[in-house]
């Protein structure tokens, strides 16, 4: 008699059912589609759907469906050529109204979507799109903050009237880059006065003082943790800027993520117009702080068109109302050293830090203007390419808008809060302020563009290899192990289902190396079955009864299966951790595939075999 615990059957059945459910959305495929969004992020109405569809009908471009989803208009096409024709036509006709993006929309039926089930998103090599890899110049970020300290220190010493012989940035303690400010005082300088003057501007730095023959030497070193924090800040800042801009492209699912130590990877599925996107992502932004003109009415100025002398008329983007600001600049964005989300008594706020010069200017202004309002203007510059009379014309576009306008509550200098915001507003404002402040330079180190037809071809080839490879394995197993081979085949199919389900649950994007990983998993998953069956054959040759052979086969093969899979999983996990991009995609599939194949071969195949042979008292021979 062979026995297998009843709860294990239930567990296997439950896992399989769940696996089938999660894997199901992947079988429906995807439609090439166009996604149209308003440039200002306002929702597209269903009335507009009609305008676009009748335009497409008039141009005789066939499409499947058009509907509004999440404030964006989605137009589905049957194939890529239709999508491309539709894209060209819509871009020509509606260029001003919409930002259009090519995308793939899953054909998953409504009831599955209602359950929140989604297919695996396709990687850029399968969907087509633009992949940009930027390198952040973290060295210049560190250099910049050291320069700010140096300026502050020399100003503080000048204010305290301490004579200085020299001040320089040096690298000490084996640092590759300057990490220390070295101040040499004049021989007649008072060291104690200098130390007192420097206490505030050099706060947070490790200070060493030595007295030499010429004059006292003060070394202020940035701690390694501070340098690391500055580097991380430089990368986070660039990530938020790039993510902000990528979102403005109207791309369906842009991905902006850190890669390794100092790289940022930007993936834009469906995007093909490389030059334009690079310009948009590379646009520069800066900030200015201005006082409001409280004596004149902004609405009047807007209506009459007469802007008072010394003022400039803006529109407050958050309120949608006109604002009159004085032209005099209190501080600019490149003087802003940090902006973070914080808490005030009135709720979420943005904490702002300015450098000392801007701090002084802010102090002077706020002293005289408590109770008045101050506006923050965001100025963005980017190049725009437009077709004029059939020719490509590139021009520089500058937009200026007031992103925040708030009352000055008290006197402040280089550190202050902007309060009265919701958490979301505070987060947005912090990002905007950071993106307008000193931006650590980034450079494009690699770019990759994959056309949608190439992506479709890649999917086709990957799927063909998967189907043919799997069919070969299934046939071979059935031939070689007969009935047991068919059990192994069922287990293999279950393994692919479970692996697909796991990948869909993790929302891991599927790339060509990922498909290769699945195919390979099919080959590897066989191994556990082969180990078990070869063991059963061995036991049978020894002359034991079929049932004893089955039991011994499963039990004795266990340690070999476990140890060999753990060692393979070690290699997979290391690849997962160290790999990026395609390599990581492959490693994820490989590692998960080992886990699912252990489950299906050890538990699943044992359950099936026990079901087949367990009930019978006597078995004449095994078909293995």
């Amino acid at each position: 008699m062979l026995e297998y615990a009843r709860w294990k059957y239930f567990l296997i059945a439950a896992v399989l059912a769940l696996g089938l459910l999660f894997a199901l959305p992947n079988v429906f495929g995807q439609d090439p589609a166009l996604q149209l969004a308003h440039a200002d992020h306002s929702a597209v109405t269903s009335a507009e759907t009609h305008v676009v569809t009748s335009f497409l009908q008039q141009r005789k471009i066939p499409f499947r469906r058009a509907y509004v989803q999440n404030g964006r208009l989605i137009v589905r096409f049957a194939n890529v050529p239709d999508q491309l024709r539709g894209s060209d036509a819509i871009d020509g006709q509606f260029k001003k109204q919409y930002i259009s993006a090519k995308t793939l929309v899953p054909r998953t039926p409504g009831w599955l979507r209602a359950l929140g089930l989604k297919p695996m998103p396709l990687g850029l090599d399968l969907s087509g799109g633009l992949d940009l890899l930027y390198q952040v110049d973290i060295k210049s970020a560190v250099r910049q903050i050291l320069q700010t300290y140096t300026q502050d220190a020399s100003r503080a010493l000048a204010d305290a009237k301490v004579p200085v012989a020299g001040i320089a940035d040096v690298a000490i303690d084996g640092s590759a880059l300057p990490n220390t400010i070295q101040i040499t005082l004049a021989p007649n300088a008072n060291l104690a006065t200098a130390q007192r003057a420097l206490a505030d501007p050099l706060r947070g730095l490790t200070i060493n003082t030595s007295t030499g023959s010429g004059g006292a030497l003060i070394q202020a070193t940035m701690p390694a943790a501070k340098i690391l924090a500055r580097e991380n800040y430089a990368i986070e800042q660039n990530i938020s800027i790039l993510r902000n801009r990528a979102n403005q492209l109207g791309v369906s699912e842009p991905k902006v993520e850190r890669q390794g130590n100092d790289r940022i990877d930007v993936q834009l599925p469906g995007v093909q117009n490389m030059a334009e996107v690079k310009h948009l992502l590379g646009q520069t932004a800066t900030l200015e702080f201005h006082l409001n003109d409280m004596e004149n009415n902004a609405f009047e100025a807007q209506q009459s068109g007469n802007v008072p002398l010394g003022d400039k008329l803006y529109t407050d983007t958050s309120m949608g109302i006109p604002v009159l600001l004085k032209r005099e600049v209190i501080a600019t964005g490149d003087q802003l050293t940090n902006a973070t989300v914080g808490q005030s008594q009135q709720g979420p706020a943005v904490n702002i830090t300015l450098d000392s010069r801007a701090g002084e200017s802010m102090l002077r202004t706020t002293k005289q203007n408590v109770g008045k309002q101050m506006g923050v203007v965001l100025i963005t510059k980017h190049t725009e390419t437009r077709k004029v009379d059939g020719k490509q014309v590139t021009r520089q576009v500058t937009t200026e808008k007031v992103i925040n306008d708030a009352t000055i509550d008290g006197v402040f200098a280089d550190r202050f809060q902007i309060s009265g915001l919701t958490l979301g507003e505070a987060q947005d404002l912090a990002i905007l302020l950071r993106s307008g402040s000193f931006v650590t330079p980034i450079s494009l180190v690699s770019e990759n563009i994959i056309g949608p037809s190439l992506g479709a071809a890649n999917i086709h080839m990957g799927m063909m290899a998967l189907i043919i490879g799997m069919a070969g394995v299934l046939m071979f197993m059935a031939l070689y192990y007969k009935v047991f081979g068919l059990v192994a085949d069922a287990v293999l199919v279950a393994n692919v289902v479970l692996l697909t389900a796991l990948l869909s649950m993790m929302h891991a994007s599927l790339s060509l190396p990922g498909i290769a990983g699945i195919i390979l998993t099919v080959g590897i998953a066989v191994d556990a079955n082969v180990l078990i069956y070869e063991r059963i054959r061995e036991e049978l040759r020894k002359g034991v009864t079929p049932q004893a052979a089955i039991r011994a086969g499963f039990e004795k093969a266990f340690s070999a299966i476990a140890d060999s899979n753990v060692t393979t999983a070690i290699a997979g996990l290391v690849l997962w951790i160290f790999g990026t991009g395609a390599i990581r995609g492959f490693a994820v599939v490989l590692t998960l595939g080992i886990a699912t194949s252990m489950f299906t071969s050890l538990m699943g195949s044992r359950a099936v075999v026990t079901l087949m042979y367990g009930g019978r008292r006597k078995i004449a021979r095994l078909h293995i």
Binding site: R263, Q272, L454, G472, G523, I524, L575
Partner: protein
């Protein structure tokens, strides 16, 4: 159906010096090839150039390929991007030319296909990407070997088997690299992933043999180690061959049907699997034997038990 209807009884250990010799010759050959011919590194490692161009009407890709080659751009990859009027030409790095010169040359070549062709963008991929990749691949390899050494030493109680596994596992990727140097198949990021995966699969076989060695020693601790090792390899032989046949089926499917992107990847896997099968049969256990492996190393308690039996 069975490959071996009876238990085989090959004398693997007796001839181990021959196989060591063969492996050393193959590895030396691989190193020589790597240093003389080198790898045909892909754009991932070396950096390179991408040109995007538009045509007034649909572009004829084969005509474009011909004219681009005639203009002196070797190894150019030409494909459609977005519409059939837009093409991308990918080139290996051209260090001696500025991007303006490249652009002019490319534009002239494309204008011979269609006078209205214009280059939309040209971008140069910096080689710094590659150097970072090499570094992280090196670390991945080092960590894989370290963890596997520790795991086997822990599970089998002896460094001798660990060393055998690690040396066998290093042997396989070296042969794969030698193969790539010999054939000059483009060596890209996917191939790196395949080479590291080969380590995992090669180990898989080795560990199955080790598991059987452990079991044989457990059954009879007085048997000579070389006899036990031969038995273990023979008893797992049909499984080793069977698994490799099945894995080869899927890898060959990938090689033939997977398209150009996966060609190098599947070739690396196929060579790696062959080398892995060989090394797990002939090399890994033999090294452990050379290191003086006995039953006592795997079952430390056996030492005490043997002492107890003394009068």
């Amino acid at each position: 159906m069975e490959f071996f209807s009876h238990q085989t009884n090959f004398q693997f250990m007796a001839t181990r010096k021959v196989w060591f010799g063969l492996s050393i010759v193959l590895m030396i050959a691989s190193f020589v090839l790597l240093f003389t011919r080198g790898l045909n590194l892909a754009i991932d490692f070396t950096g390179g150039v991408t040109v995007q161009a538009t045509f007034p009407t649909s572009a004829d890709l084969s005509a474009v390929r011909q004219k681009v080659a005639a203009a002196g751009f070797s190894d150019a990859v030409v494909e459609y991007v977005g519409t059939s009027r837009t093409i991308a030409v990918r080139l290996p790095p051209e260090p001696h030319q500025t991007s303006t010169q490249l652009r002019t040359r490319m534009e002239n070549a494309l204008k011979q296909v269609n006078s209205g062709a214009t280059v939309q963008s040209l971008s140069v991929v910096g080689p710094q990407v590659g150097s970072q990749l090499e570094k992280s691949a090196g670390w991945a390899l080092a960590f894989t070997l370290l963890f596997i050494f520790l795991y086997i030493a822990w599970r089998f109680h002896t460094w001798r088997l660990s060393l055998g596994a690690i040396l066998a596992v290093l042997h396989d990727p070296i042969l794969v690299l030698g193969f790539f140097a010999l054939t000059q198949i483009s060596f890209d990021l996917n191939v790196v992933a395949a080479v590291l995966a080969v380590i995992g699969y090669s180990l898989n076989d080795t560990v199955v043999v080790f598991d059987r060695i452990r079991e044989r020693f457990e059954g009879n601790r007085r048997l000579a180690p070389n006899v036990v090792l031969d038995q273990a390899i023979n008893q797992t032989l049909s499984r080793t061959i069977m698994t490799k046949v099945v894995t080869s089926i899927v890898v060959v499917a990938l090689l033939v049907l997977g398209g150009p992107v996966l060609r190098g990847f599947s070739a690396a896997l196929l060579i790696g699997i062959l080398a892995g099968t060989y090394s797990s049969i002939y090399i890994s256990s033999a090294i452990a034997l050379e290191c003086g492996l006995t039953a006592e190393h795997i079952f430390p308690s056996a030492r005490k038990a043997a002492a107890d039996e003394l009068p």
